[in-house]
């Protein structure tokens, strides 16, 4: 009895911090922003620079949302970086060259086909994980290798470049001002279209997680898959949905990235899956499953975006940037572990060990 009591007390104390976890991340984000603004007031808050940060957040926020869903159910998706290359190349190829004897197709059908393809690959992952009990790490690692391989093989390694006036490029390069036909428009007008897409996606996934039976079931599967199954939850379907969503979001991000770069290239997106996982974790997602939010994923991506941009603005060398970002990730995870009590358990055991 005493054992549970102390545990309850400790967790409720740490749980109180945990409940405002997202606020902590938000505070960290604001402090970071203030710091960089203080150091470079001439650049940091300029619309053009904010647009750069928002594009970064759009890319990694979208991928992180997919990772959050998969990680809540206790899985992982390592394929997303390569999926960016694959889907970017495919969509560009369809618009510019056509597949086989099929002539090039329009922008919209090409995008739709790519999104369907990404979703199908996600379903493929989910099916292997649930029906064949293949570890998620392995099956998505397979796609990690295969997707980039396909992209490189299709293009023989050459980027598929769009002409500068191609209408497809609006998606990744346009901003709100261009969309609405404003002149100038300041900070609001500088909001990139990709960031608007992120907001729409985030709203939908947030809604699914918090207001639909499916969302409750996703958390239930992550919390205890056997108990969820015994409660009549179709646990396989829930998990497949999460992988499919991650595949869909990777394809969407791949399309946006191809548009932003003006080309579909097999070298894009290397190690992005790790950045996306890092963003999810910084935002409070537990790799043990059962916990994670959309807001957290976006805030995690925002922290990384602001850090990375701020360090560029301050002219830090890219080597130093990597070291600092790595430290941020480690600190976030250590904090997370301590918050859950695991670290304290370890310390307690170590302190009370028989001498």
């Amino acid at each position: 009895m005493t054992k549970t009591d102390t545990r309850t007390k400790r967790l409720s104390f740490l749980g109180r911090i945990g409940r405002v976890r997202e606020i902590n991340v938000l505070v960290a984000l604001v402090l970071l922003g203030l710091y960089f603004y203080w150091r470079r007031p001439d650049i940091f808050l300029e619309p053009a620079n904010l647009a750069v940060i928002m594009r970064f957040i759009a890319t990694f926020g979208m991928l992180a949302i997919g990772e959050v869903l998969v990680i809540i159910t206790g899985g992982i998706d390592l394929s997303v970086g390569s999926m960016l290359a694959f889907t970017g190349v495919i969509t560009a190829w369809m618009m510019l060259k056509g597949i086989g004897s099929i002539p090039p197709i329009g922008v919209v059908p090409a995008i739709l086909i790519t999104l369907v393809l990404g979703t199908l690959i996600g379903i493929w992952h989910g099916t292997f994980v649930t029906k064949l009990k293949i570890p998620p790490f392995i099956i998505t690692l397979g796609t990690y290798l295969m997707a980039r391989g396909f992209a490189a093989n299709l293009t023989r390694g050459y980027p598929q470049v769009f002409d500068s006036g191609h209408p497809f490029l609006v998606l990744g390069q346009g901003d709100l001002a261009r969309l609405m036909g404003w002149e100038g428009g300041g900070i609001i007008g500088a909001i990139p279209i990709s960031f608007l897409i992120l907001l729409v996606i985030a709203t939908i996934v947030h809604f699914i997680l918090n207001h639909t039976p499916l969302g409750y079931r996703i958390y239930a599967v992550g919390g205890n898959i056997e108990a969820a199954r015994l409660s009549g939850v179709n646990v396989d379907r829930v998990r497949i949905f999460c992988y499919a969503t991650s595949g869909f979001l990777a394809a969407l991000t791949g399309v946006i990235l191809a548009s932003r770069l003006g080309q579909g290239t097999p070298v894009v997106g290397s190690a992005y899956e790790l950045w996306a996982i890092a963003a999810a974790v910084i935002g409070g997602t537990s790799l043990r499953g059962g916990e994670g939010t959309v807001l957290g994923a976006i805030l995690g991506a925002a922290i990384m975006g602001v850090m990375q941009n701020g360090m560029v603005v301050l002219n830090l060398s890219s080597y130093i940037q990597d070291i600092i970002l790595g430290m941020v990730l480690v600190i976030a995870v250590v904090y997370d572990t301590l918050r859950r009590g695991g670290g304290f358990d370890f310390l307690k055991k170590w302190l009370s060990r028989p001498s």
Binding site: S12, T212, P213, R217, Y219, A220, N224, G232, N234
Partner: protein, 526 residues
């Protein structure tokens, strides 16, 4: 007490007045035990009698609250599993502690691998290890090559490896917890040969089992525990199965468990020929509206496996399930839900609840689909009201509905598990050990609730290892033994002794399924 002393000089183990309490339960009070070199002592008792607790104290897993332990006449204070090992006590659990990916030899010497001589000390002397291991295996007459991977060994052979592992640390006292529960008849005989070999080598063995028949085959002496107390000790030639059962059960059915009369209606659930090879054989029975059908039997008799198959939680090899006369296909818990079956599992922490989620979320999880608008978004108010309704109805003590399930007491957790099914208004409720590990007050509340549900016409299957509970709550009692239905008894004819006799295989039923009331339902394949 009243035990017969074994000759004083030969005693390798003497336990005096050991007590141990857990929150809410006195697991052991003032228990004595003695073991002589070369003796096989059978420790018997009902589930929860305290056998495992006593053995865990001896093997260092638990610390005793009071009492003294002597080994070879020396008083010892066992501080942990390693210490117990140094004192020459080894325990072989039902679930083995072997690494399947290593060889038998590597397992036997795990953590104490012989090293190469001289500067090669950093390396394991594999050949010597296998030779030594082989010697130990040969010594107990196990025909296993020491280099075989444990993965490739049968259950019985793994047990031999465990025994050899015990001998490798010079164990003088070997405790075997239900060693035969996973063995076939031939393998049991082989194990007994090994035990006889060990006896001759002067090793004392404490043998825990539920199968009385085996006790009479191998033991020299029997000690009976009941409710944490030692209630008898006798030499094997003075004992009879009846006498032992009498001692094991030996209490009156209290009036704690009193089922209210409920009207028993027409057949609700019929199970015919339910089988999973090697686990459950040809189980058939009928559950009627308003009836509580108790499932009695020993641990490992296949009760949990049977009800899990009915609920679709585990696959079945054969068998038919009919609800209100119509055959239904149940291949997953989802199908069972749709058929109106609810299931309160045995292990509420791991199977019944999602501890990281709130009370609210746990209660509404199976009935989420009933609370959507346009089938898409959740009606949160509806969820809240449903959860609140059942929290009130079942008197679940929570500070708020958002409280995480892990912070509730066992009794309240169990009520949450029940609540989540009641929110679906099931016709059939399966409850596996519904009151295990919860306090007396909550127990009575659960029992009252079961009575009320039965009166409302719900059919309840209650698996329980507590005989007084089974006798107090059930309209009929299905006794399982070794995966089969040993008997189905009416409330009036059932006694603890009769149930134990069927459960332990001492007695075998002449006829199965006894119709209780209208509409006799003889199994299709009797």
């Amino acid at each position: 007490m009243g035990g017969r002393m074994v000759s004083e000089q030969n005693l390798i183990l003497r336990v005096e007045g050991v007590s141990k309490a857990f929150p809410g339960v006195q697991a052991l009070s003032d228990v004595d035990l003695e073991l002589a070199a070369g003796e096989v002592l059978a420790l018997v008792g009902e589930n929860g009698a305290g056998k495992s607790t006593l053995m865990k104290i001896l093997s260092g897993a638990y610390r005793k609250d009071a009492g003294r332990i002597f080994i070879n006449g020396q008083e010892v204070e066992i501080t942990g599993p390693r210490h117990a090992q140094q004192l020459g006590i080894a325990i072989i659990y039902q679930e083995f502690n072997l690494a399947p990916n290593l060889s038998a030899a590597a397992n036997i010497f795990l953590g104490r691998e012989p090293r190469r001589p001289g500067p090669g000390r950093l390396f394991v002397d594999r050949r010597r290890m296998e030779q030594e291991a082989q010697k130990l295996l040969d010594r107990i007459g196990a025909r296993i090559s020491a280099s075989t991977l444990v993965h490739d060994l049968s259950v019985a052979e793994r047990q031999m490896v465990e025994i050899a592992k015990a001998l490798a640390v010079n164990a003088r006292i070997i405790i075997m917890d239900e060693p035969t529960s996973a063995l076939g008849e031939e393998e049991v005989e082989k194990l007994f040969e090994v035990i006889r070999t060990l006896k001759q080598q002067g090793i004392g063995i404490i043998f825990i089992t539920h199968r009385l028949e085996e006790v009479f085959r191998i033991a020299d002496r029997i000690v009976v525990l009941r409710d944490g107390k030692r209630v008898g000790s006798m030499l094997i030639h003075e004992a009879t199965p009846e006498k032992v059962i009498q001692l094991m059960v030996g209490r009156e059915v209290g009036d704690l468990f009193q089922k209210q009369k409920a009207e028993i209606g027409p057949p609700l659930l019929e199970v015919r020929g339910l089988t999973r090879r090697g686990v459950v054989e040809n189980v058939s029975f009928t559950l009627r509206r308003g009836e509580i059908l108790g499932f009695a039997g020993l641990v490992g008799a296949g009760r949990t496996e049977t009800v899990r198959m009915i609920f679709g939680a585990d696959p079945k090899d054969a068998g038919e399930i009919l609800i209100e006369g119509k055959p239904v296909t149940i291949e997953s818990p989802k199908d069972a839900l749709a058929a109106g079956i609810g299931f309160v599992p045995e292990d509420r922490g791991n199977h019944g609840l999602i501890l990281s989620l709130s009370v609210l979320e746990n209660i509404v999880l199976p009935s989420l689909h009933q609370h959507t608008r346009l089938g898409i978004w959740l009606n949160r108010l509806g969820l809240y009201q449903t959860a609140q309704e059942f929290v009130n109805k079942l008197n679940i003590r929570v500070t708020q509905l958002q409280q995480k399930a892990m912070f509730l007491s066992g009794g309240n957790q169990q009520k949450v598990v029940v609540a989540k099914w009641l929110a679906l208004r099931p016709r059939i409720l399966i409850m596996d050990e519904p009151t295990r590990g919860i306090d007396v007050g909550a127990k009575a509340e659960i029992h009252a609730l079961m009575s009320r549900l039965a009166q409302e016409g719900v059919g309840i299957i209650m698996v329980s290892s507590e005989l007084p509970e089974v006798l107090g709550m059930s309209d009929r009692i299905l006794v399982m033994s070794e995966g089969r239905v040993a008997a189905i008894l009416n409330r009036e004819e059932a006694t603890q002794e009769l149930i134990m006799a069927y459960a332990s295989g001492e007695k075998i039923a002449e006829s199965l399924e006894k119709p209780a009331g209208t509409g006799s339902a003889t199994p299709a394949n009797g």
